[in-house]
């Protein structure tokens, strides 16, 4: 039988990998991928806690949260990719650090 903290370790690992990628990846699509990874880690956590602590007494909040995260991930992917594509159209680059027209 699998103890709960295995899942948590797994999600922690995925989260950290995603964090690293999100900060260091040059390509903005890569940043998007990393963020999706982090979201997945969060989902694993939620579902694990749900299964181990909440499901026995029929508490559904965690599942609702997971659904919300799915929606957020989809929305974020759609909008993010749209932005990346339009940015690519305008300035021919997808390297996040080159898109710094907001610098002071």
């Amino acid at each position: 039988m699998i103890p709960l903290y295995w899942y948590l370790l797994l999600s922690a690992a995925i989260f950290c990998i995603g964090l690293f990628g999100a900060i260091t990846r040059k390509n903005s699509v890569g940043i998007l991928l990393s963020i999706e990874l982090m979201l997945n880690a969060a989902n694993i956590n939620l579902l694990a806690f749900w299964r181990y602590l909440y499901a026995p007494n029929g508490d559904l909040r965690a599942e609702v949260f997971v659904i919300a995260i799915f929606v957020v991930a989809a929305a974020e992917a759609a909008v993010g990719l749209a932005m990346i594509i339009s940015a690519y159209r305008s300035r021919q680059t997808v390297v996040a650090n080159d898109m710094d027209s907001l610098k002071g």
């Binding site: 039988m1 699998i2 103890p3 709960l4 903290y5 295995w6 948590l8 797994l10 922690a12 690992a13 995925i14 950290c16 990998i17 690293f20 990628g21 900060i23 260091t24 990846r25 040059k26 390509n27 699509v29 890569g30 998007l32 991928l33 990393s34 999706e36 990874l37 997945n40 989902n43 694993i44 579902l47 749900w50 299964r51 181990y52 602590l53 499901a55 029929g58 559904l60 599942e63 609702v64 659904i67 799915f70 929606v71 957020v72 991930a73 989809a74 929305a75 992917a77 759609a78 909008v79 990719l81 749209a82 990346i84 594509i85 339009s86 690519y88 159209r89 021919q92 997808v94 390297v95």
Partner: protein, 173 residues
């Protein structure tokens, strides 16, 4: 070490490895492929958590929609992706340090928590059906409002994405 544990460990290794490859792969397209593999692994994890619905939805949404979207974006921005220099910016080492600290912190915090040794209790089948979740989502006394809010968010995202990505023929109006 029961079979299910072995299965979990193998699966976890697959996920972590493909996640690392996702982050480090040079070619964006390969990164996306590894990403898909990691997502499938995560779906397996969901299935092991007896959340079959979410496992399938994971495959449906991520592999079916998001991954394809991403690969599309990769192809549309193809020319910029032929760069062969290393895919990280110069902050990578510092970040590695930070992330390591975060990871260690997480592990410690996990270790110090007695609750987390708990194991599962078998669920009655009606607790695992999609029906209960669906009813809860449409019950105004439970989660109807958050559900509607998420749907509105999705709608707004769709409109926004279309509005951003669609190239305007003439400037102004």
């Amino acid at each position: 070490m029961t079979g299910i544990q072995i299965l979990f460990i193998v699966n976890a290794l697959v996920i972590i490895f493909s996640a690392v490859m996702t982050v480090t792969a040079r070619h964006m397209i390969h990164a996306a492929l590894w990403f898909v593999l990691a997502l499938l692994g995560v779906a397996v994890v969901y299935a092991m958590l007896e959340a079959g619905f979410f496992a399938v939805v994971q495959v449906l949404i991520y592999v079916g929609a998001i991954a394809i979207l991403i690969i599309f974006a990769v192809m549309l921005t193809r020319r910029a992706l032929e760069d062969q220099e290393k895919p990280f910016n110069r902050a990578s080492l510092v970040t590695l340090l930070i992330v390591g600290i975060v990871f260690v912190g997480l592990i410690l915090s996990i270790r110090f928590w007695p609750l987390l040794q708990s194991t599962t209790v078998p669920l009655s089948p009606d607790q695992l059906t999609v029906g209960t979740l669906g009813l809860a989502l449409t019950d105004p006394q439970q989660f109807a409002l958050p559900f509607e809010v998420t749907s509105i968010l999705l709608l707004a995202a769709m409109i926004g994405a279309i509005y951003i990505a669609h190239e305007r023929k003439e400037k102004g109006k």
